[in-house]
Structure formats: structure tokens, C-alpha cells
């Protein structure tokens, strides 16, 4: 196995080469396009779900446990409900909670991370102790226990996971802020006599954003996975509701006899998480292009 020399001296030649590579990568790949398409479906289903499949929750015992057919694409469950239609309904909890968590953690992370990184001092110290503590904790475990004790429910789970996600954003934003604040362009802004908030939000924030935004996509994927895991354990969405995690949990009893009950929701979750990560990578590539960098 030979070892490729991949970097080395930063000659202008190399820089041009890299820049061109980055430009080329900006064209979305098939995977990215598929991800966008799938996520668009989730958004539409999440927002308009009940309008698209108005009869999803109608029970009909005569139709129970049917196989795949043109009428029921993924068959029906033991109560005779169309599984595909219930998967469509499940997009709602897969969309709203993770979106809220990603946004919340992003905002908290940017504000606290910039503060801890740029201002530091006592507020920075407090923020970082909090982050360190949260980092050392096994997050999912805390979520399980907290939700179990607080008495469950989807929105409780959303709140708990948001609090558990924010430290990751905070730590990232702080690290980038500290790395950027020693750069001459920030010092030059200080030397000009600009106010602290202007330096933070006009100069630092735009340079921190690419990483923070890609972290938000990561948060979304992890929130999606953790929320459905909690529902799967019976600690998130109420049993019986059309949530992908809950549907999977309820399919367990007769899994080997009726695998159709599980396949739809399982693939829906996996593809959603994968799509979000693929899109996150792509967005990061786009945001950190040559125009935004100094090299």
C-alpha cells in the first residue's frame, strides 16, 4: 500500500487545485438531489398530512393485516388501517420536533458560543462548565430517565433533547470563535474601535455560520433518531399515535409474521436521517467555498 501525498506545501498551484475541486463539488450529486426530494416529501406530508390522507386513522377490522396491494401500498395493520397512509402521517412528528430542536440548539449555541468564545471571563466560564458537564453525561440516558420521571410525552421529549443538543452547538461555535478571534481581521476590527456586539455579529458570526449551520443539520438528524428512539421505548409520542418510532414498537409483537408493519416506518426513519446528513454535508460545502475563505 503506497501513501499518497495529499497536501504538503501550500503552493498557489495547490490552492488553485483545491479551489477548483471545491467548485466542482458544488454541483449537487444524485444523492443530494434524492435527499432533497425525499425531505421535500416529508415537509409536505408533515404540514399537509391529514389533508392528504384523511382516512388514515379509520379502523376497519374486516381489512386487517392485508398484504401489499394497489389499494394498500404497504398493506394494513391489525386494525385495518393503511400502513402507508400512517407512515405519511408520521412525517409530522419526524419534522416538527427535530426542526424545533435543531433551530433551538442553533440559536442557543450561537449566542452562548459567541459569548463564551469572544467575551470569555466569568460568563464564559459558567457556560463552559455547563457544556463540560453536559458533554460528560450519557445524553440519551439522561433523556430516558428525565422523560420517564417527568412523565413522558412528545413535547417533553423535544424540550429535553433540545437542552441536551445545545451544548454541542455551543462548544463548536466557541471553538470556531476562539480560532477566529485571534485572526488579524478581528483584531483589526477591534483596533478600529468597533463595538463588541458589532465585532461579534458582523465579523465573527458570518465566519462561524458555515460550521454552525452544518451542525444544525447534524442536530436535526440526531434529534430525529433520538425522538423516534424514545417513542420506540414508549417514552415519546403516546402509544397508538402515527409516529414512526411508536409504529415500530407496536410492530414488534408480531414482527416475524407481519414484517410489513415494520418495514415502512423503519425505512422512513433511516432515509430521513441519511438525507438530512447528506444535505448537511452539501450545505457545508456550499457555505465554505472559496469566496468565504482567505486562501
Amino acid at each position: 500500500m503506497s501513501i499518497e501525498t495529499t497536501a504538503g506545501a501550500e503552493t498557489p498551484a495547490l490552492r488553485t487545485f483545491r479551489a477548483a475541486r471545491r467548485r466542482r463539488r458544488r454541483l449537487p450529486s444524485v444523492a443530494v438531489l434524492l435527499s432533497i426530494a425525499y425531505l421535500a416529501c416529508i415537509v409536505v406530508a408533515g404540514v399537509f398530512g391529514p389533508l392528504l390522507v384523511p382516512h388514515a386513522n379509520v379502523q376497519s377490522l374486516t381489512d386487517s393485516l392485508q398484504g401489499m396491494s394497489s389499494q394498500h401500498w404497504l398493506g394494513t395493520d391489525d386494525l385495518g388501517r393503511d400502513i402507508f397512509e400512517r407512515v405519511v402521517l408520521g412525517a409530522r412528528t419526524a419534522l416538527y420536533g427535530p426542526l424545533l430542536i435543531a433551530l433551538g440548539a442553533f440559536v442557543i449555541g450561537c449566542v452562548l458560543g459567541l459569548t463564551a468564545g469572544y467575551i470569555g471571563g466569568i460568563p464564559g466560564g459558567i457556560i463552559m462548565r455547563w457544556v463540560d458537564l453536559m458533554y460528560a453525561l450519557p445524553g440519551v440516558l439522561v433523556a430516558i430517565v428525565a422523560i420517564g420521571v417527568l412523565g413522558g410525552g412528545y413535547w417533553v421529549a423535544v424540550a429535553v433533547i433540545m437542552i441536551l443538543s445545545a451544548p454541542y452547538d455551543t462548544r463548536l461555535v466557541r471553538a470556531v470563535t476562539i480560532e477566529q478571534k485571534g485572526r488579524p481581521y478581528v483584531e483589526a476590527a477591534r483596533t478600529l474601535g468597533l463595538s463588541r456586539s458589532r465585532v461579534m455579529f458582523r465579523h465573527l458570526l458570518p465566519n462561524v455560520l458555515p460550521l454552525a449551520v452544518s451542525q444544525a443539520f447534524l442536530s436535526f438528524a440526531f434529534a430525529l433518531i433520538n425522538l423516534s428512539a424514545l417513542s420506540f421505548l414508549g417514552l415519546g409520542s403516546t402509544p397508538g399515535s402515527p409516529d414512526w418510532g411508536t409504529m415500530l414498537a407496536e410492530s414488534q409483537a408480531s414482527l416475524l409474521d407481519n414484517p410489513l408493519l415494520a418495514i415502512g416506518p423503519a425505512l422512513a426513519i433511516i432515509f430521513a436521517a441519511v438525507s438530512v446528513n447528506i444535505l448537511g454535508d452539501y450545505v457545508f460545502d456550499r457555505l465554505s467555498t472559496k469566496e468565504g475563505r482567505n486562501d
Partner: protein, 321 residues
């Protein structure tokens, strides 16, 4: 690196872990107070709520003492490995934990082995063949598997390998060595989809970073043998991030086991915790969380010490911090 600075570093880390564990145990204990409803009723479990039984509970759990005194008592008992009794079965929490820990530890070790044995070589190949076909395949697979939730993967595995192909058992932990192993294969694979991807990414990034360093070019220029270049230069210098990944994997496995045990109906610590949470059996919840957290802290500590063995620079920096 002096012995003293190393010792100071180790003691510092130990102290930090101990403090974290105390803070954490306080949080766990406070859950009892935070829980909606009367703690007495929670601790009653399925006993009838008569004034006598309620008084008995109050006395047994010292519920009339101030909160901090209660916590102190619980903590000192916990240090003596006495974590109280289950309110539902009356069984000692510590013996319940011991009974269940075996499956979880076995599952964790199997997952860890699979992860490292596949993740490191794949990551290295991807890193060394950056941009080539092998790298693209490995990276795409990693991207896919890092996002796949273990319970969803687990269910698909059951459907395919236990249902359609009927190769492996679907649920339960089995009896005896070989049977236990057969039962743990699917859960371990489900749990390692995400962790393999993690290790692949860490290793790949580390190898790419190291392979681009001047010292690699310089060593090639002076004719260092390719095998030495690979092991003493690239691998050795990629080790720190890989150790980080190993630590992350271990703690992820400890926690991820909770979900996977529920998927495969394994009688481990995770399923003990989940059922205790569902049934509001607080002493068990407190005990299991404390044990898992302690394990995670221990893993972090060992990771930090492993850095020390690998990189002579860390001891110096760590001690002067």
C-alpha cells in the same frame, strides 16, 4: 515528561471524574424530588396506600429528613454498594443490576470488537486511497450507516436474518456460550452500524491529515521503507484521533445498548432501566443510571490515559495547563 507531571495529570483527571460523578448522582437523586406527584406514592409501588404503609415508607426512606440529608444517606449507602430495593419486587437493586449486567457487557464488547476490527481498516483504506473508488464506496456507506438508528436497523435485521432467512435467533439472550453468541450477533451488528461509521470517519480524517504532513514527504524522500512509513508514521500519528473514537464508541455502546436491548428483548441493564422507567420504579432507575454513568466516566478516563501512552506531547501540555 517527568513522572511527577504525569502523576499530577492522572490525579487531576481522576479528581475531575469523581466530582462529575457526585454532581451527576445529585442530579439523579433530585429526579425523585422533581418527579410530579408525591414521592411516597411513587415509592409505594403496588402496595396499597394506607396510612400505615405510607408511614413505613416515610421511615424507610427517611423522607421527613431535609433533602440534603436524604441525598447524603443515599450517596453513602451507594458507596457501600447498597442502592436500595425495587419498589415493585423488593429485590436489592445491586443484585438486580449484577444479574443483568452480564448481557450488556457481552453485547458491548462484541460491538466494540466488530466496530474496531472493521472501522479502522476501512477508514485507513479510505484515507490512503482518498478520492479513489474504494474511498468513495466506504465514505458513502459510512454516511449511510452513521445516520441509521440502531432500533430501525435492528428490526430490519430481524425481519431478514431471523424471519426470511432464518439464520439467527430473533430475540432473547440464549443459554451458554455459543448460543449466547448466536443471540448477540444481530444486536451487536445493529449497534455497530453507527459506530463503525464513526470510527471510519475519524480514522479516514486522521490518515488524510497525517499523510499530507511534511514529515511523511521528508521520510519518503530519504527512503524510509513503505511498511515503516505506514506503521511508524501514518498509523502511529493517527492513533490519537482513533483513541478518541474508541472512547466515543465505548460510551455510545453503553448507552445505545438501552435501545437495542429493547429491540431484541435482551435481559440486560438497558431493558431493566426501560421497564423501571415505565413502571416508575425509582430506586432501580437511580441505581442503573448511576452504574451506566460511572462506566461512561471510567471509559473517558481510560481514553485520556491512553493518549498519554501514545503521545509524549500530551503529558507535558496537560500538566502545564
Amino acid at each position: 515528561m517527568t513522572l511527577r507531571s504525569t502523576l499530577r495529570y492522572v490525579l487531576g483527571r481522576l479528581g475531575g471524574a469523581a466530582i462529575l460523578l457526585v454532581v451527576y448522582s445529585f442530579g439523579i437523586y433530585s429526579l425523585l424530588a422533581l418527579a410530579p406527584g408525591d414521592p411516597v406514592r411513587l415509592l409505594l409501588g403496588n402496595l396499597p396506600a394506607t396510612p400505615e404503609t405510607m408511614d413505613a415508607i416515610r421511615v424507610r426512606y427517611n423522607l421527613d429528613d431535609p433533602f440534603f440529608v436524604q441525598y447524603w444517606n443515599w450517596l453513602t449507602d451507594a458507596l457501600h454498594l447498597d442502592l436500595g430495593q425495587s419498589v415493585l419486587t423488593g429485590q436489592d437493586v445491586s443484585s438486580a443490576i449484577l444479574e443483568r449486567a452480564g448481557v450488556t457487557v457481552q453485547l458491548g464488547l462484541l460491538t466494540f470488537l466488530i466496530t474496531m476490527a472493521l472501522g479502522i481498516p476501512l477508514g485507513m483504506v479510505a484515507g490512503l486511497r482518498r478520492g479513489r473508488f474504494a474511498d468513495r464506496v466506504v465514505s458513502q456507506l459510512a454516511m449511510f450507516s452513521v445516520s441509521a438508528p440502531s432500533f430501525a436497523v435492528g428490526i430490519l435485521l430481524i425481519i431478514v436474518f431471523a424471519g426470511q432467512l432464518n439464520w439467527l435467533p430473533s430475540i432473547g439472550a440464549g443459554e451458554g456460550g455459543a448460543d449466547r453468541l448466536r443471540h448477540l450477533i444481530l444486536p451487536a451488528v445493529a449497534l455497530s452500524t453507527a459506530t463503525i461509521a464513526l470510527v471510519v470517519r475519524y480514522t479516514r480524517t486522521a490518515v488524510i491529515e497525517v499523510a499530507g504532513q511534511d514529515y511523511i514527504i521528508a521520510a519518503r524522500a530519504r527512503g524510509v521503507k513503505p511498511s515503516r512509513l505506514l506503521f511508524n508514521y501514518v498509523l502511529r500519528n493517527s492513533l490519537v484521533p482513533v483513541i478518541t473514537a474508541a472512547g466515543v464508541v465505548l460510551s455510545f455502546v453503553m448507552v445505545g445498548a438501552v435501545v437495542v436491548e429493547a429491540t431484541f428483548a435482551l435481559p440486560g441493564l438497558g431493558s431493566l432501566l426501560v421497564s423501571a422507567v415505565q413502571q416508575k420504579d425509582l430506586p432501580i432507575v437511580q441505581g442503573v443510571t448511576l452504574v451506566i454513568a460511572a462506566a461512561v466516566f471510567l471509559i473517558n478516563l481510560v481514553t485520556d490515559l491512553a493518549y498519554l501512552a501514545v503521545d509524549p506531547r500530551i503529558a507535558v501540555d496537560g500538566a502545564s495547563r
